[in-house]
Subunit: 253 residues, 2 copies
């Protein structure tokens, strides 16, 4: 697939080669980001650039940045002090493979690399980095709320823990292609709803939702429809974003 090729190529370009010192860090960073996979967030980023009349190539660095940032969140979420997960995508988690200290540090390194990479965008770098910082902070806020003891605000968790990185992906892609403020606003709305739909679908796949299965099913459909309708009136080619939104609905793990 065209977009997938761009994504794997730019990730390979910006990640440290395995020989870069200290080697354990470079290996852990590459292990964390992996190869292939769905790459949902970077696909949104590239497709958002096309949806505002730019090219996918305009958004290649922000796309790599959002995927790298997403993977740091997984590395830290899996830690013993957090979810204590030993396996992800059928392989040992980063801390299980490289040790706990190296996993904390590999996550930190991925975070630094994400911002350095976003700053390579061809235009609008101040707004792009501010957006990544804002939503990168948001995802942590969602995670802290999620692990809070006692009553937690599920909507707050879903918006921040899941949708914020979808928003950063779409907005950065649009900005990298020189979008108008109106187009950026439409894509922000699209990504918020697509992120929520993604989370509802995740709950359906897990067979566990705070809203119950039937209600979650209709929430997912509503959010997807709302996302797709936000694309009306965009100045570029929205084909990829529409396909992406439809493919996430009723997806398999």
């Amino acid at each position: 697939m065209r977009l997938s090729q761009i994504i794997e190529k730019v990730l390979d370009e910006v990640l440290p080669s395995e020989g870069t010192r200290p080697e354990v860090l470079s290996k852990a960073m590459r292990y964390a980001v992996g190869t292939g996979g769905k790459r949902v967030r970077p696909r949104i980023c590239l497709a958002a650039a096309e949806a505002v009349g730019g090219t996918a190539e305009d958004a290649r660095y922000p796309a790599a940045a959002i995927e790298i940032l997403h993977n740091y969140t997984l590395v830290h979420d899996d830690l013993p002090a957090m979810d204590n997960d030993v396996e992800r995508r059928g392989k040992p988690t980063v801390w299980k493979e490289f040790g706990e200290a190296n996993a904390i540090l590999a996550g930190d390194a991925l975070l630094a690399l994400a911002y350095r990479t976003a700053a390579l965008a061809p235009r609008n770098v101040p707004q792009i980095v501010q957006e990544l910082g804002e939503q990168g902070l948001g995802v942590v806020r969602g995670q802290v709320e999620d692990i809070e003891q006692g009553d937690k605000d599920i909507e707050f968790v879903y918006i921040h823990k899941t949708a914020d990185l979808f928003i950063a992906a779409a907005v950065m892609g649009a900005l990298a292609a020189g979008a108008s403020p109106e187009d950026v606003a439409k894509l922000r709305e699209f990504a918020l709803n697509l992120g929520l739909a993604f989370q509802y679908e995740d709950d359906l796949l897990d067979g566990d939702s705070p809203y119950g299965m039937e209600k979650t099913q209709s929430l997912a459909q509503e959010a997807t429809a709302k996302a797709i309708s936000s694309l009306d009136g965009l100045s570029g080619d929205t084909t990829e974003l529409r396909l992406l939104a439809q493919s996430l609905l009723g997806r398999k793990k």
Copy 2:
């Protein structure tokens, strides 16, 4: 002091207010950054802007960014899986006060905030963020090398774990004030040597150095002299940078 006031004011401006949800995160972030203290790195950043003919105000956001980034490294270094420290600056460390998961996440949030803040600089944002990303990655590389079992390269650790953030501070401050490439290069050299001098002095204060006390004393003096001589020919007022370099030599904890 003039520079200190700018630093405390901008830190207060960009850190989340204590009521920002989730409150435990906002509290932990403010607790980690603290108030007062030496603020060596942001002072270098502001003084670098003056040294290239700009004003300290030009560099206020990069100065806040480097101090916030420095403090995330301390929060993560103190974790049980890393140095397992329970006290810092006479107070419980962040993980001891807020729990391990919240400390990992507060560090992550500070990192996101650092980049968002650097992107508020008045000019040269792409280069500023790339520099912060490069040295932010460097500090992690130094830390991984430092905790490696077996032979480690002390010079590599000192350059990356300590000097890299000094370099980011000086270079970002210069760029924020619109420095010429020649002035940026001089300040990079200044900061590398000042960072090394700072680390040697730290070893002297701890009474423990891989080079032995006498040798470390002379290394500190040489590095400080080299740093100060790098300031010759800069186009602005280097008074603050010279004072800063001299005050670090033979300093007390």
